[in-house]
Amino acid sequence: MTVEPLLSVTNLTVAFGNHAVIQGLSFKVNQGDGVAIIGPNGAGKTVLLKALLHLIAYRGEIRWSQATRLGYVPQKIVADRQLPLSARDFLAAKVRLLKLPSDELEQVSTELGLTTQLLDANIGILSGGQFQKVLIAFALLGRPNVLLVDEPTASLDELTEERIYELLQSLQKNRGMTILLVSHDLSVVYRNASLVLCLSKDKPCMGPPKKILTPAMLEELYSAPSLYYRHIHEHEWASPGAETTPEEKKC
């Protein structure tokens, strides 16, 4: 018996005017996968997430399995310091809007280590890492089983970045969540993702990190030698087992 994929994307095209950002993209994601979406600037990573959330118009088919509940962590929001909103105001708005149980805000806050002091602070004065945690908490309200995360660590320091990824990883492990993550950080992708979807106009591809993150692929994708790749994988690189077959690379 074949298991129905959690997400099935067939021949997806997203265009703005005459400019197609994503063209004819097809891929599948199973329950529990950790999918990293990589690609150069302008390859359509954020656009893909927005299409998956049905926030923008597209052609082709995006099919989520029936039991899917989506959570979305957008790319860094620049919180206006003038907004008289506390983190609690922000989270409570979603709880009321979706008519969630009133204790869910406290549960999620405890799980993510959001203190009362942090919850009552104005969102404009939170640090980048704190605000990112609040955004993840917002996404977790409503108990989603899929998280779509758009560059969660952009402009964060390394330590905070590490903590955010640890948090996402624990969510995937402990809750069995499926995570689709846009990231520029290939070392993080290599360590955390079970699948990599690389977006490029000519040849989008999908597969396990070891098969996809090869120097040849990265050079093709980013049109430049990827130095940090060598740093991470100099040992695997020597191994002939790391060679990738064309079939595995295909979407």
């Binding site: 927005k50 959330l53 926030l55 989506l70 979305y72 957008p74 929001i77 919180a79 206006d80 003038q82 907004l83 008289p84 909103l85 506390s86 105001d89 922000f90 409570a92 708005a93 979603k94 009321r96 809007l97 979706l98 009552d120 104005n122 969102i123 917002f138």
Partner: protein, 259 residues
């Protein structure tokens, strides 16, 4: 006469609450000044109604809502920012208004009340104010989320374009009630001033709304009393506005002391 003044005061008090709520959200959406401009969309309608000897408030309402809808459409179709779309429609409305309003009525349309209030006018005003307050209460969460991030709001199930239109209409309805006793130029002062005052003093949404409402109520009560017993201008609008400006000045001083 006393009865008319009494009705006007009651309406003004409830209006001040509605204006404060709308002002809080308009401040968060960074479109406070838009309320000042939106009130001018009523001018062509007032002018045409005066020419045809019809009710100026009805004429004003017609062009105000038509203009509001056009602002929304222009924004949606062209991707213009709300303030740019309002700017374009405003300039056009002002030009038409200046051309059609008879000279002798121009000053009253800009600064004064539009005729004496009737019982029906009072009840309609109260219904409009109630609609504004209930709508803001129901939409506050959607509006807060869409202000912070339209994408996040949409991903949470909010229809953002429809919400924008609803807010613009609520906004215009508030301004319309304000026109009744403040005139086109000052109709929006109670939308702008109390919210700006409250922002100096509150960091959380609940406190922000409470302080704005209190500042708005106080401005109306003090404005009416000062005008009735001291200034004796033809309408209380200028006194209300000046008093709310005074509160804003005080809020700046308090903020400075607190920080």
């Amino acid at each position: 006469m006393l009865r008319v003044q009494g009705l006007l005061l009651v309406l003004a008090l409830f209006f001040s609450l509605a204006a404060a709520l709308v002002g809080c959200l308009a401040l968060m959406k960074r479109m406070l000044l838009a309320s000042d401009v939106i009130s001018h969309l009523a001018l062509p309608g007032i002018g045409i109604a005066l020419l045809l000897r019809k009710s100026p408030i009805l004429g004003g309402a017609a062009t105000l809502f038509l203009g509001t809808f056009l602002v929304w459409r222009l924004q949606r179709k062209t991707g213009l920012a709300t303030e740019s779309a309002i700017g374009v429609i405003f300039a056009t409305a002002l030009a038409i208004g200046a051309a059609v309003i008879p000279n002798e009525d121009l000053a009253e349309s800009l600064f004064g009340e539009l005729g004496k209030i009737s019982l029906v006018g009072f009840l309609l005003g109260m219904a409009a104010v109630a609609l504004v307050i209930v709508s803001i209460a129901l939409l506050r969460d959607q509006l807060s989320l869409s202000i912070l991030s339209p994408d996040l709001a949409a991903a949470t199930g909010v229809n953002v374009p429809r919400l924008d239109l609803r807010f613009l209409l609520i906004f215009s309805l508030t301004v319309l009630v304000g026109l009744r006793f403040m005139g086109a130029l000052l109709a929006s002062s109670l939308v702008i001033m109390p919210a700006a005052t409250a922002r100096q003093l509150a960091d959380k949404l609940t406190n922000f709304v409470l302080v704005a409402s209190a500042a708005s109520l106080l401005s109306v009560i003090a404005g009416f009393l000062l005008n009735a017993f001291l200034f004796k201008f033809p309408t209380a609008g200028p006194t209300i506005t000046m008093f709310s400006a005074l509160l804003f000045g005080l809020s700046l001083l308090v903020r400075k002391r607190l920080s």
